[in-house]
Assembly symmetry: C2
Homo-oligomer: 113 residues x 2
DNA sequence: TCCATCAATTAGCAATTACTAATGCATTAG
DNA sequence: CTAATGCATTAGTAATTGCTAATTGATGGA
């Protein structure tokens, strides 16, 4: 068992994990469910159960999901804090505030009227 | 010349473009400069000019940079709107508001005191 | 004019990736 | 107990990726 893994930048890890459409779809489904089993995730995913398990492993390593075993099922749930590196990165590049402040302004205007 | 390219999801395109650390570093440097030439970008990048050009091509295709030719130089600048797909995606998954509202709350508290 | 510089493109390569099929190990059902 | 189910892991694969070295074409300076 080779635990040494030369941890890449968290931003890189998260981006890489979400860059693949299949894997991102898995994350989205996990996110949308409170909890979801591997079998359920496999259904209608278009790939095999093995592939799903592999994607879940990647997502877990990126800190984007967590799991809970129960009986022969393993239930996965999203770990939204895992997205923090992305938020921070984008924040640093100023995208949020510009866009969001506009939204906030609109919101306040609505409340005012 | 093969212009057909089977355009992937914009989110996938942007994520893929930014997932590679070297390429992301290029984007960051372009972003931090108003404009920057390929030669300048190559300096201290650790890779060859050819590699930089390839990365710029990817970034351009993802809508993250734009360029302007002048003489024998080509100056690149960031296209922050290119990040929109990412913002939208994350927004949909609710990350912003939670985090940012907290910040906003802190900010307002500060102003109050 | 001749030479240096800038940048894009190409071929070739090693490494990585996403997948399947198969296997093994638990756990539950009959 | 036996069979079926859920999941992880592995070996093997085809495709993709990121890089270099080299080439080409254009522009600018001496």
């Amino acid at each position: 068992m080779d635990m040494i893994e030369a941890a890449p930048n968290p931003v890189t890890a998260v981006m890489r994990a979400l860059a693949d459409p299949t894997r991102r779809a898995v994350f989205e489904r996990v996110f949308d469910s409170k909890e979801i089993s591997v079998a359920e995730l496999t259904r209608g995913s278009g790939v095999t159960q093995g592939a799903i398990s592999q994607h879940l492993k990647s997502l877990k390593q990126a800190g984007l999901v967590a799991e809970r075993a129960e009986g022969r099922n393993v239930y996965y749930r999203a770990a939204p804090q895992g997205l923090e590196p992305l938020v921070t990165w984008m924040d640093h590049y100023g995208v949020f505030w510009r866009e969001r402040f506009q939204n906030l302004r609109d919101l306040l205007k609505e409340i005012d009227s």
